[in-house]
């Protein structure tokens, strides 16, 4: 007797980039991956692409910030925004990726 098996597959795909975030990564104090290891892997994937900013927050060890953003905003300002809006929601064992889009606009009024 022949065994007839039918497969039903649902699939989808999309492009990803490594590392799997673009702007900011927040490392919890007791996350399984430490600062040195993550830093090394970033260095291998995107050499000189991220800057590490240490944090004094109770649950956060440090923040990896894409240098593209740092070219647009000072790191103190970025850290302040994160401290207010992100860090309160980070548990010490987590690694959080943060989408951080920066729009810059100027209003220029020229005197005649």
């Amino acid at each position: 007797m022949k065994n007839n098996i039918k497969y039903s597959v649902t699939l989808s795909f999309e492009e990803i980039k490594l590392p799997p975030f673009e702007e900011i990564l927040v490392l919890g104090k007791n996350s399984p991956h430490g600062k040195q290891g993550v830093s090394k892997s970033f260095e291998l994937l995107i050499p000189n692409g991220f800057e590490i900013i240490d944090s004094n927050h109770g649950n956060v060890d440090c923040v990896f910030v894409n240098k593209r953003i740092l070219a647009k905003m000072p790191k103190e300002k970025i850290l302040k925004i994160l401290e207010t809006n992100v860090f309160p929601y980070v548990s010490e064992k987590e690694i959080i990726k943060v989408d951080f889009k920066v729009n810059i606009s100027f209003t220029i009024a020229e005197e005649s």
Partner: protein
């Protein structure tokens, strides 16, 4: 003690970017793993406590900073640093370059062994100090008791001579002078014993075995004690093989023979007889000092060789002694690996026998040629 003696160089090495799971079991087994990269750059030491305090995925993130101590550091300083750093292992360097690991348990074991050794040394030194103190006490007691009486006798004789010299006849004066001489000689022997014993206790007597003619030494000693023997009309004869020699310390042999012959004179009645003879027996010469004196009780035969005994038995003419003579003899004979013992003769008297190593030209001339002295 420097930690250089405790450095372990048989350590395991891992790459700092290896995963913890891969080395966890090895770490538990070895307690510490050295972290170095492919180029040999030293990152630190991973310990089990690092793993417990800082559990991460990669080794590099688990590492805690540990001071690189120098191989010349002391054990005590290193233990202090381990306690301060709350670690059981520290990396050791030489000129700042990592060379190995030291483990706290091994340092503790050393300290514990060292403490036991120190304790034993203290016990030994305490015992030897107690011994020295009791020796000193014994010396004072001997000086107080045994030296006082002959001086009293000498003072008595000189007092008599001083007061009555003009009225005493020649014979009586001679008798008093003989008595003074005997007491002076006795005191001298006593002092000699005391000094020898004190020097031996303070280990200032050197042991220099040389080729020794026992017959010659014996004759010298007999001439030293002949006055005391003559006073009791005791005859001393000495017989020795002409071709048998001892390999011994001449000064010690002299002290031994003088003590034994003086003892024999002391415990022999007037008109008695003393014989000194030696016989080769195997690797030793057996020397006997035999008298026809008052003999010795069976139970006293061994106690005279013990320094804690120190009871001097007066001689047949009430001669005094230090009670140390036979103690000194035994110590000196022990240093020759010889033996000393007392035998009662079947007829009246005592034989004191002792052994000294025999001189064998083929052995001693090869092993002790340098500095060999011939005492004839």
């Amino acid at each position: 003690m420097k930690i250089a003696y405790f450095i372990r160089r048989d350590y395991l090495t891992v790459n700092p970017y290896s995963g913890i799971n891969a080395i966890k079991n090895k770490l538990l087994e070895h307690l510490a793993i050295v972290v170095k990269d492919d180029e040999g750059i030293f990152y630190g030491v991973l310990t089990t406590s690092d793993l417990a305090l800082n559990p991460k995925t990669l080794i590099i993130d688990c590492l805690t900073i540990k001071e690189l101590i120098d191989r010349k550091d002391s054990v005590e300083d290193t233990i202090f640093k381990m306690d301060t750093g709350k670690t059981d292992v520290l990396p050791v360097g030489e000129n700042g370059k990592f060379i190995g690991l030291v483990f706290k348990n091994e340092l503790y074991n050393y300290i514990s062994d060292y403490n036991i050794e120190l304790e034993n040394t203290i016990k030994e030194r305490t015992a030897s100090l107690e011994d020295a103190i009791s020796t000193k006490d014994l010396m004072f007691s001997i000086i107080a008791h045994d030296l006082k009486s002959p001086f009293n006798a000498i003072l008595g004789f000189t007092g008599l001579l001083k007061d009555k010299l003009r009225i005493l006849d020649f014979e009586k004066s001679e008798k008093l002078i003989d008595g003074m001489y005997a007491q002076a000689r006795n005191t001298y022997n006593l002092l000699e014993d005391l000094l020898t014993w004190a020097r031996d206790n303070s280990n200032t007597i050197a042991f220099n075995p040389v080729f020794c003619n026992i017959s010659t030494i014996c004759d010298d000693v007999i001439s030293q004690v002949k006055d005391a023997a003559q006073m009791k009309d005791i005859t001393i004869n000495s017989f020795h093989s002409s071709d048998v020699y001892a390999f011994s310390d001449k000064n010690m042999v002299e002290v031994i023979l003088r003590n034994l012959i003086v003892n024999a004179v002391k415990f022999t009645e007037n008109h008695g007889k003393i014989e000194i003879y030696s016989l080769p027996i195997g690797e030793f010469i057996e020397i006997t000092v035999s008298d026809n004196g008052i003999g010795i009780e069976e139970e006293d035969k061994t106690k005279f060789f013990k320094s804690d005994f120190n009871e001097s038995t007066p001689g047949t003419a009430n001669e005094k002694g230090s009670g140390l003579g036979l103690v000194i003899c035994k110590r000196f004979i022990d240093r020759h690996q010889g033996k000393i013992w007392i035998e009662n003769k079947s007829e009246k008297g005592t034989s004191v026998k002792f052994t000294l190593p025999i001189y064998k030209e083929e052995i001693q001339s090869t092993s002790k040629t340098k500095g060999l002295k011939i005492v004839k």
